[in-house]
Symmetry: C2
Subunit: 532 residues, 2 copies
């Protein structure tokens, strides 16, 4: 697409435009963590926020100065001066300067309709607002980015005027002219054409691109802009952002580096892409998007039997690239569509399963039956491993449940309920009864079970539950439908997922909990054997 080794600068706006997304809200601490992660990915610019919009963004800029960033420069975002106000006296521009960010990004109108109808200013006043604002920043030695809002709609409506706004910013000293497809309504061909013409009109300027995904084309539009001459791409990690989101910087960067041969990020940084994506989901408290290109958990997952067979024979067959380049990995999934190849691929060698077609078939049938009941092993490899041990008669029984009782009781309208769990188990010949309070029923049950197991298996203290998810499987019956609970646990050695399904939320949680603990104890035993 582009000539070899074009240097393309990356400008991340997860902390500003990304926080416009539904359900996303980041604390100052969250934002600082993300900034450090982006820096370790070697992103060139990190837009930290909009100092005037809220106190959180203001304090981010104070705190971020204390971080030692290696490659990234911090940018503060704001608007052109208000109409009829001197730039030096404008509250927004003052806040930008006060943020002490070395880079300042000023958004201004490039669409004549917007200037007239939304800002309600004359076209000349809009040009003056752009020029005055940029000039002030340039004079104060800030690296200055002009975000030309609605550039492509403006270009369509009045190309002459859209160009004038760019020229105003450029002449005032803007370091970057960034063309924004603010509504995300443009197609790649139109983007490429407009970028090309803007580059021709202002040959000394450096251009960037900022796309939104309203037509599902933000990545394609960003690539089209680079191939037409832009050398700076804006986006957010995982494409989080308002409406349909921004260009997903992880996808754009991977394409630029791997498919277009551009010089983007520093040597070796691309392998951090998957971790960066997952880290941002975690911090933003969003579910991973399994099917996300390059970095998704399913991006290199193989389910169909035929595919699995072929991918093992020749990886290029169903993989467009090596997953490790972006820090991801190939996964072979267990599912009802799987052929026997899948089962053999997921089970450890030592079980001697690879030659045993009958046992493979037995496992496959049992998996299919459990999937019909609502089980899914795709995020619960530990439950799958235990199932295989069970079906091969290699299960180790660490304890027997004799019974449990959970009571949640609340008095009065306000306040929180009290939760208590009692549990009785048998280990070898010995019975043990224990009780625990908890913040909720699962927490109380978990506490009571660990207490009961403690004197037999003290290593349960080393593990903790890292995540807990509930999914109603047949939503049409609501609270009486089956629920699937997935628990993620970890100790110092590893992270593992377990699953439980039942009509009863507590029972489903219990099943996932038991698998989690049994898996831990099994692994400890294996490790013990390996060490002795």
């Amino acid at each position: 697409m582009t000539s070899k080794r074009t240097r393309v600068f990356t400008y991340d706006t997860t902390l500003r435009d990304g926080t416009q997304a539904l359900g996303v809200s980041l604390s100052v601490q969250d934002k600082l963590l993300v900034a450090e992660m982006l820096d370790s990915l070697s992103v060139d610019y990190i837009e930290g926020g909009y100092p005037l919009s809220n106190p959180k963004d203001e304090s981010f800029f104070q705190e971020v100065r204390k971080l030692k960033l290696r490659t990234a420069r911090i940018a503060a975002f704001g608007m052109t001066r208000r109409r009829d106000v001197q730039a030096g006296k404008d509250v927004g521009l003052t806040a930008l300067l006060k943020s002490e960010a070395p880079v300042v990004t000023i958004v201004g109108k490039s669409w004549d309709m917007q200037a007239r109808k939304v800002l309600k200013v004359s076209l000349d006043e809009n040009l003056a607002m752009i020029a005055d604002s940029i000039k002030l920043m340039a004079r104060r030695k800030r690296e200055t980015v002009f975000d030309a809002e609605h550039f492509f709609d403006g270009w369509q409506a009045n190309p002459e005027y859209a160009l004038q706004t760019l020229r105003a910013a450029h002449d005032a000293g803007a370091d970057w002219l960034v063309l924004c497809d603010t509504n995300g309504g443009s197609l790649p061909d139109r983007i490429a054409e407009a970028v090309r013409e803007a580059c021709t009109a202002l040959p000394e300027a450096k251009f960037g691109i900022h796309c939104h995904n309203d037509c599902g084309l933000a990545v394609a539009n960003s690539l089209a802009a680079v191939s037409a001459g832009a050398v700076h791409v804006q986006g957010t990690v995982n494409g989080i952002g308002e409406r349909c989101g921004n260009a997903d910087l992880t996808t754009v960067v991977a394409n630029l580096a791997i498919k277009c041969g551009c010089d983007v990020l520093t040597e070796g940084a691309l392998a951090k892409l998957t971790d960066t994506s997952r880290f941002v989901y975690e911090v933003a408290n969003l579910n991973f998007q399994e099917s996300q290109p390059f970095v998704g958990a399913a991006a290199f997952a193989h389910k169909g039997g035929m595919h699995v067979h072929a991918v093992r024979r020749e990886s290029r067959s169903y993989e467009h690239m090596n997953p490790t380049v972006v820090g991801n990995a190939r996964r072979i999934l267990v599912s009802e569509l799987s052929g026997v190849s899948n089962i053999a691929a997921t089970v450890p060698e030592k079980f001697g399963l690879s030659g045993d077609r009958k046992a493979q078939k037995r496992i496959l049938d049992r998996v299919a039956q459990m999937e019909n009941e609502g089980y899914q092993f795709e995020a619960a490899e530990a439950s799958f491993a235990l199932l295989v041990r069970r079906l091969l008669g290699k299960e180790r029984r660490f304890f027997d449940l004799l019974g449990f009782r959970v009571i949640v009781e609340k008095r009065g309208h306000g306040g929180v309920p009290v939760t208590e769990a009692t549990i009785k188990i048998r280990v070898g010949g010995k019975e043990e009864i224990s009780a625990s309070e908890g913040d909720g029923p699962v927490n109380a049950l978990d506490g009571a079970l660990r207490k009961a197991l403690d004197r037999f298996y003290p290593s349960v203290r080393e593990m903790h539950l890292a995540d807990y998810k509930v999914r109603v499987i047949n939503p049409s019956a609501a609270t009486a439908a089956a629920v699937r609970v997935v628990i993620e646990s970890r100790d110092k050695h590893e992270i593992w997922g377990t699953v439980g399904v039942s009509e009863n939320l507590i029972e489903a949680s219990w099943r996932a909990l038991v698998d989690s603990i049994v898996y831990k104890l099994s692994r400890d035993e294996e490790r013990g054997r390996a060490e002795s």
Copy 2:
């Protein structure tokens, strides 16, 4: 992009390629429902499955013949004959004919490496396998589609041979030559170039395109192919499919119809796009993807105060199109980033809030505080409406909780626990105590509360819970972290969402449950007043 009114045929493969997605499994009944929905969207072809791969797909083809489809033709999918087997004796091809599907799609290798290394046949035998298989179908009067697997990789590696496979299929009588980017690794420019050359080489053939989303470019690649001469696009509803999924047919179709001026779907059908998307998510039991282009719940949602202000003044400001064209709607969201404009826009006129800036500010502050605790009102408009009533002193207190107790008890290792809830409430001066069993704690609590309310408010019988979702808010503390419960309820008039947050799962569920019932009673009262 394309000249005006090119007729583009739509070929949906949700029921075949879509079921390769992680976590997707459809029953025969599910598949029939989807087929009817696709037909009402006026899709041209519906690929129903792979008759040889499993009995479920086989019985789908029997059942689908009983449906009265208006526009859609049903296609069965299979592979070219096995090597060294006569086409008429090949089990796969026999199964295709036996399915009695009027359209048959045969996938064959177009990449020389694949033929040699995966099929382990000579390049000539591969051509013969293609020709024989297509010929058999054409002779049996099937409309025949040739899916040229890995066409773009094949084109890159050995363009001469890739073209020969197309020619073999065409000469054998294939009605459609569909070029597949099987690994999803191609960029739009390469797609366009290869399609253009294939069209030139075989000017009498009709071409289609089948893209995967491994580079986040499936939609862009499909559009590029159409602009280069393809007149048939394959994809799946919501892009569900293996790895990163297929081209999302909803996005492709919307772009073709709205942005590229193609003749796609019948008059008026585009308005069913959003319903189709949500229906498929429901049937496949997947969460909606809020940020999905065109059809997502957030696609036309506005959160930032500045944007909301502007969008109300001039919709083109932040909307690239009218959402109703695709059956979607504009949403104004309540969130901490919202300006006062958002609050005013979501609250009914009758509350007289639009002039009352002070009350608006009070609501905004309270929302920000609750969002810090983990509340989200974006999917819980009913809880938001009740909050506003409360803050304006217009809350109606239907009952007081005096207390509840939930007991979950299990005896022995196997079996299901018994769940019981007791509840005590006061309505006016009267106390009522009631108990209920349930499949789980929330179900039991819901049962007991309804029983207690029944003699005071018999209309609670009309409503039921339609969905129940649990989200851990701070996953790092696992089961002891706060949980957010969102309940969706419905009666004959409407559907409404409510939310509850607490460290205790039962308490969070209780809060969402109470809001759900109080909202129902409030609305009944309002409707009663309106009628009298």
